[in-house]
Symmetry: C2
Subunit: 257 residues, 2 copies
DNA sequence: CATTCATTGCGTCTATATGACACAATGATA
DNA sequence: TATCATTGTGTCATATAGACGCAATGAATG
C-alpha cells in the first residue's frame, strides 16, 4: 500500500519517489442506460475535463500503478485493464499551463522542476461495471463524473486523442478481449449486449442475427428470469459462462461484425 | 539529423540530452528463403544477443527515435514500424550487468548514474524487405545478423519476451496491417505469400483455398511473368495493388485463418 | 528426347455461416 | 380488452469455408 500524499508533497518531493518523465492515463469505460460512458475529472480552477491519471513510483510496476489510480477513482479493486499505447510527442504537455496551475495553488517551481519536464504517458483502458463504481475526484480535480462517449468533444492536453485511440482499440479487440463481460452487470439482456456492440462498433446490427450468432458462440447462458419493468415484452436475462467465454476469446471470435 | 555519439559521450553526457528512464527496442522482421527472420545484435564481451534499441532525445518524438534506430541498423529510411507495448517491470534491467559492461569498457559510473536507473522500454516492431537491408552493429555490439524466428531461445534481459509479444501482435494484426506488403519484395509468388502467412500464424493452410481467398480480396495482381529457376513448375509472380490493399485493411480483412 | 515427379493452377462439391425478412408471443399501457 | 413496440423463433436465398480431384508445368533423369 502506497502512502497518501498531499499535492504539496508531490510537487516538492515527487521527483524523489516517482519515475521521471513517465505518467499514465486511464480511459475508464462503463455502460449505463444503453450508453457507453467514460469517467472524467473536472480540473480545479479550469473549465476543462481530463482523464484520470497519475505517476509511477520508482519501484512500482506500471500496471500496478494503473491499478492504484483506478482504485482511487472508482473504489474498485479488481479491474480489467489493458495498456494500449504510449503517447510521446515532445510537445504534448503545455508547460506554461502547468506552471500556471501550480502558481494558482501557491506553489513555486523552478525551470528544471520534475513536473515541467517533458512527459510521455502510457495509455490504459479499463472496463468496469458502471453500477458499482463510486467516482472520486483526485487532488487536482473538483469532480469525477461519467460522460457519454459521443458527447465528449474536447479534453485537457492530448486526452481526447488518447480517448479516441482507446475506443478504436476497444473496437479492434472486441473479438479477443472479454469486453462484454467486464462492461455489463452479471445479468444482462440480449438487447443490452447488442447495444453495447453497436455503440463500440458504431454500427447497427440486425437484432435476430445478432442473437442467433451470440447464442451460437455458446458462452452466454439464458436464465429463467426476465427483465420486467420495461414498457414492452420482458426480455430474458443472460449471464456469461466465463470459462467458455475466455476459451472462445483465446482463439478470437470468428467472423466480423 | 542527430550527431554521431561515442559510447563515452553517451555514458557520461547522455543524461543531459536523452530522456531519463525511457528507452525503445525494435523487433525488425524480415522474410527470406521462406522463413521469418529477426535482426539481432551480438553484444560486446558477452555471449548474448539483443534487440536493436536506443534512447530518445529530450526533444525527439518516440516514433522518430525508433525510425532513427532502424535507419542506423538497416540503412533504410522508410520503414513500416508500429509501437506495440511498453515493458515496464521494475526489475527488468539487470543493474549489476550494466555496471559490469561499463566496467569492461573502462568507464566508471556512480550509483545514481542515469544509465543504471530503472528503465522502461517502448517496444516497436518493424517490417522490412530483407533483400535491401544492410545490417550494421551499434556501438555496444560486434555483429548484426538475421536469425530465424523459431531458432531464438534466449535473449538479453527481457528481449525474448518483447520478441514473443511482437510476433503475437503480428498475428493479431494480420488482417489490419500491410504485413505482406512490407515483408515481401515487390514481386512475389503465391506460395511465398502463403508461407509468410503460415509462419506468422504458425499453422498450415490449404494451398488452393488460400489462393482463391487471396485473389478474392482483390488487392493482389498477377503479373505475366513467372518465377523460373525453381525445381518445379514456375509459379506466377504477383504484386500488391497498394490502393486496394490499404482500403481493404481499413475495414479489416474479413474472416479468420 | 521421352519419362518422372513435385509443384502449380483451376475447378468441384458439401457443410456451414451470413444477411434479409416473416410472424407469433409478450407485457405494459391506454 | 385492444393497442403497440418489443422480443423470441424460424425461414429462405446466398455467400463462404474447408476438403479434395485433376490436368498443366518445367526441371531433372536416364
Amino acid at each position: 500500500m502506497r502512502p497518501e500524499r498531499t499535492i504539496q508533497d508531490i510537487v516538492q518531493e515527487g521527483g524523489k519517489y516517482f519515475m521521471p518523465s513517465v505518467s499514465l492515463d486511464c480511459v475508464i469505460f462503463g455502460f449505463h442506460e444503453n450508453e457507453l460512458k467514460v469517467l472524467l475529472l473536472k480540473m480545479k480552477n479550469m473549465d476543462q475535463w481530463a482523464l484520470p491519471g497519475g505517476f509511477i513510483y520508482k519501484d512500482e510496476d506500471i500496471e500496478d500503478a494503473a491499478t492504484r489510480v483506478l482504485r482511487e477513482r472508482t473504489g474498485l479493486h479488481d479491474i480489467f485493464l489493458q495498456q494500449f499505447k504510449v503517447f510521446g510527442l515532445p510537445n504534448r504537455s503545455d508547460k506554461k499551463h502547468h506552471l500556471n496551475i501550480m502558481k494558482k495553488d501557491g506553489i513555486k517551481v523552478g525551470k528544471d522542476h520534475w513536473l515541467i519536464q517533458r512527459f510521455i504517458t502510457v495509455g490504459f483502458y479499463a472496463l468496469v461495471d458502471f453500477a458499482v463504481v463510486i467516482p472520486e475526484p483526485d487532488m487536482n480535480s473538483v469532480s469525477c463524473e461519467w460522460h457519454e462517449i459521443h458527447s465528449i468533444s474536447e479534453l485537457f492536453m492530448d486526452h481526447k486523442d488518447i480517448l479516441d485511440n482507446a475506443l478504436e482499440t476497444l473496437r479492434l479487440q472486441l473479438n479477443h478481449q472479454p469486453i462484454g463481460y467486464n462492461l455489463l452487470p452479471q445479468k444482462f439482456t440480449m438487447p443490452e449486449l447488442q447495444k453495447l456492440y453497436e455503440t463500440i462498433l458504431d454500427k447497427k446490427l440486425d437484432r435476430r442475427n445478432f442473437q442467433r450468432r451470440m447464442n451460437g458462440f455458446g458462452f452466454v447462458k439464458r436464465l429463467k428470469e426476465t427483465r420486467k419493468g420495461g414498457a414492452h415484452k420482458a426480455p430474458f436475462l443472460y449471464n456469461f459462462d466465463l470459462r467458455k467465454y475466455k476459451k472462445a476469446l483465446q482463439e478470437g471470435l470468428q467472423g466480423g461484425w
